[in-house]
């Protein structure tokens, strides 16, 4: 039986981990390789690096960051941010990522999911979906939340999986950074709609929130600030999950 995964997320800009990215109040949270290694030692099941500064001219720096994280990291590494084409994905995988996370580019060009999955395998392709509640449903938002679309988030998750996504990284955009807990209804709806694993993101302030998300159907939970701030450790979270009867890695 698969264990429930706890995944610290590193938002990286210019080679440094930053906090509060989505609120434009950046604070430095250290060196990505050191942070990743620290969380791995705490028992993290995986690391996600989202490079929010992934412009064309910064790609070289991003590859160096990925390589330095890889050198020390004995657990899976997912990298996302600004991946537009096969070449960008290939470069990241070659630098040491095990998976790439596609977001806006997959919405614009859904065929990219198929091409990457066909070339690198479904296990290497994560489709990240940022969803915002609209009425009784959820719509996809793109370009770091700045652009709303008419696309239904659950239908897009189904299509992404059909096109070859190995996992769905599901962020409730209106929850992100609010510390009000994950969007449980959204998690449940997507987890029921697809067969691939679903990683819940957005809104976590405590291990209790993670328990809720996993019970709602998530296979993994992702969080950033609660780990960066040292409020809790991955090991603490796993102890709480285990005490609630959820199977975690030992």
């Amino acid at each position: 039986m698969l264990k429930k995964r706890v995944i610290p997320c590193l938002d990286v800009r210019d080679g440094r981990v930053v906090k509060g990215v989505r609120f434009q109040s950046l604070r430095d949270a250290g060196d990505p390789a050191e942070r990743a290694a620290l969380y791995a030692e705490q028992g993290a099941d995986e690391i996600v690096v989202l490079d929010v500064s992934a412009t064309l001219e910064q790609r070289g720096a991003r590859l160096a960051t990925v390589a330095s994280v890889r050198e020390r990291l004995p657990i899976p590494l997912t990298v996302g941010g600004g991946i537009r084409d096969e070449e960008g994905a290939r470069a990241l995988l070659e630098a040491g990522a095990d998976k790439v996370a596609l977001n806006s580019a997959a919405v614009v060009d859904p065929g990219l999911v198929e091409r990457l999955s066909g070339r690198f395998g479904a296990q290497a392709v994560v489709v990240a979906i940022d969803a915002a509640r609209v009425g009784s449903g959820w719509r996809v938002v793109v370009r770091s939340g700045t652009t709303a679309t008419e696309i239904d988030a659950i239908a897009w998750a189904v299509e992404a999986a059909r096109r070859g996504a190995g996992e769905i990284l599901l962020t409730a955009w209106d929850r992100d950074g609010t510390r009000s807990g994950y969007e449980l209804e959204l998690i449940g709806a997507v987890a029921r709609a697809v067969r691939v694993p679903v990683i819940a993101s957005g809104g976590a302030a405590s291990a209790r929130h993670m328990v809720e998300a996993l019970r709602a159907g998530a296979d993994a939970v992702l969080a950033a600030s609660i780990f960066h701030d040292g409020e809790t450790t991955v090991a603490d979270v796993q102890r709480v999950l285990a005490s609630e009867g959820l199977e975690v890695r030992t």
Partner: protein, 208 residues
């Protein structure tokens, strides 16, 4: 004790090798990438990594002649570590790519996971190894696969895991190890397997 042991990592063109190379370095070995059949045939120790599809993986092995080199190595019991798709490629066939013949060094046919479970299997799962295992052990390992082997081939020591039913997590015979999981991504548990395999490879080489 594994310091400086040269390990040839078979470059199949479909696998990203950085994690395997990093894990070998952390274990004290000296990884060397090669897609030359001669290197793979003659090396003291070989890793066959693999991600991607069965058909693409076999095409890369056949194009380079690595298929025959690997078949001979495994049949002769020479130190070899096959990972994920690499394990499947050593078998006879996979339902992922009907009609494509595997390397054929292991009597194994792979089928897709069935049942009301997540596919691909992506994440950590418990591995149970029998007491006679020398390199494999009990612990949690990271898997990323849609196809699996549900029967242990004769002559191999098998470790097991479960995802909608039991499947073979890894096979071991002397210094030949085939893992469905990724030891290079399986934390301290995976590092232990890599270290014991390198140690076994060194013993084989020294015995020659």
């Amino acid at each position: 004790m594994n310091a400086g042991t040269e390990v040839v990592v078979a470059r199949t063109g479909v696998a990203n090798l950085a994690a395997v190379v990093a894990a070998l370095r952390r274990a004290g070995a000296r990884p060397v990438l090669s897609d030359r059949a001669g290197d793979v045939r003659d090396a003291g120790a070989v890793v066959l990594p693999g991600v991607g599809s069965f058909a693409a993986g076999m095409r890369a092995l056949v194009d380079t002649g690595l298929d025959l080199a690997l078949r001979d190595r495994v049949r002769d019991g020479r130190p070899t570590l096959a990972i994920c798709l690499g394990m499947q490629l050593l078998g006879l066939a996979s339902a992922e790519s009907p009609g494509v013949e595997g390397v054929g060094a292991v009597d194994a046919r792979y089928a897709r996971f069935a049942g009301e479970i997540r596919v691909p299997q992506i994440g950590w799962n418990a591995v149970v190894a029998p007491p006679e295992a020398r390199i494999l052990a009990n612990g949690d390992a990271y898997f990323a696969n849609s196809f699996r082997l549900d029967r242990a081939p004769d002559g191999w020591t098998a470790a097991w895991s479960g995802h909608g039913g039991s499947f073979v997590a890894a096979l071991e015979r002397g210094a030949v190890v085939a893992c469905q999981f990724h030891p290079e991504l399986s934390g301290a548990f995976g590092a232990g397997i890599v270290e014991r395999w390198i140690a076994a490879a060194r013993r084989e080489v020294c015995a020659c």
